[in-house]
Symmetry: C2
Subunit: 290 residues, 2 copies
């Protein structure tokens, strides 16, 4: 008798047994878990052959939608909450530290270095705004020389890389070094919310589930300082549409900040802007490296 | 406070909540289960960002390997045992009935009708063999007029559709009607084992897990009779290599049959073959429709 005969009951055991000689232990563990969860899914939903075929066709379309600038499987991972979950399991932080969120697909070019106070909006498309904050260690110590990498969509909801030839190269991207109090400040515009690309199979999935494709307005930030764990996060604009329904699940309450109107000629002069001015403040707290 | 803020702990609840307005109840159930099992998988293995990226790239390559004649996602489903599991949950049969196995990708053309005893091997590539059996109901009653659809690889391990211009059109395919005792017989060749297409990402996965890509020698059979549940199955050739390690998990002990040498001039004359001759016998037992 074959002792590896396939049956509904023994399906996981039979398949996992074929992985026994996998030289890479990590690959073996990942595939073993994949088989367990995939078979559990099939046993749970009991797909008809036609439904299984639909699933095969959906995944095929997702793969075939991908090219040099479009990654539909990342979008699928995003809208199923998988990208945020991978982010979460990789970034377990102290309660104090700034929460992480997804990197996203638009950090594809190096941000240019700027002096503090520079204006990163090269197309001036959107409401002008000062973006400022302080980088601190979890115990409250300011972190002089911390680096802040910032990138964002413009006031129309598009990143530079989405509009080559329309937006200036490296529009709304900047790499800054905090001053000796750990403070950073720069000029930009308030970004707009925007939809993820929804003209492919992931967009069809959103439509079929009556979900919208939008992300609320946000600025991407990577904060880093010597001896500390870097943070990849967003600051979300208070009052933006879709804060309660980000299609990629990126919003955390602790990352929402208001854009306030400041009427203070001295501060305006410091920031080299006209008074009154818009201000978005976002302090960044980093855990020490273990 | 947002009540839908994403966290490791609440990930499933947050994502499933966004499916609440899905009009199609079945789609909602399938996606809910998918999110549960997919998140459980991620929590189980805790992939690094780099591993997640590798997974995205693997799935992308699988999708991009697909074209009109190659379905790499079906192959992936096959080598992970998912295709056999979907077959199993859709074909829960009585103990008596002939066991099912996967349809496979080669039933892509209509089999030509033949009279009983016809030779379906048009290229005569392989050891000549008579294939015969009886179709019965689960209680033992013969089923006159049962239909048997047969297709197989030749003695070199290739199907006609894999070698257009080399093999004759519709080589090794045939549709037969059983006689008034439910019996069928035809002439063919003993097929050879063969590898599934292994020059793509699924082949790489097999290599990385030290699995071979082969399927043991088999003849595909669909059996059907009025008032009965059709069966899609294979008869496997006893003694073939890979019977204990079919890469798509299709083998069931109850489907293995020997090719025997029969020395019987009268039977040889009946089958219109030279004596002695090879004989593969496979009876088909169908459940009554409920």
């Amino acid at each position: 008798m074959l002792d590896n005969s396939f049956s509904e009951k023994r399906s996981v055991r039979v398949v996992v047994d074929t992985l026994r000689d996998t030289p890479d232990e990590r690959l073996k563990a990942v595939l073993t878990s994949l088989v367990e969860h995939l078979h559990a899914f099939v046993k749970d939903i009991e797909p008809t052959q036609a439904e299984w075929q639909q699933g095969i066709e959906f995944l095929t379309t997702v793969g075939q939608m991908c090219d040099a600038t479009r990654q539909e499987f990342v979008l699928l991972s995003d809208v199923l909450g998988v990208s945020m979950l991978v982010d979460a399991v990789n970034h377990r932080r102290s309660e104090t530290a700034t929460a992480t969120t997804v990197l996203g697909p638009f950090h594809m070019v190096q941000s240019p270095h700027y002096e503090l106070g520079a204006d990163i909006s090269l197309d001036h498309n959107g409401p002008p705004c000062v973006f400022a904050g302080q980088v601190r260690s979890a115990d409250g110590t300011p972190l002089p020389g911390a680096r802040i990498d910032v990138w964002q969509a413009n006031g129309a909801g598009y990143y530079d890389v989405q509009q080559p030839g329309v937006q200036p190269d490296r529009n709304l991207r900047g790499l800054f070094e905090a001053d000796d109090r750990g403070c950073f400040w720069l000029r930009t515009v308030v970004p707009r919310y925007y939809p993820i690309p929804d003209d492919g199979p992931v967009g069809q999935l959103l439509t079929a589930t009556k979900r919208h494709p939008n992300r609320p307005a946000h600025i991407h930030v990577i904060g880093d300082a010597p001896g500390h764990v870097p943070v990849t996060t967003h600051v979300f604009i208070e009052g933006s549409p879709y804060l309660d329904s980000d299609t990629v699940f990126g919003v955390k309450q602790s990352l929402i900040r208001p854009v306030v109107i400041v009427d203070d000629p001295a501060r305006a002069a410091n920031y080299r802007v006209a008074n009154p001015f818009r201000l978005l403040e976002f302090d960044i707290v980093l855990d020490r490296l273990p």
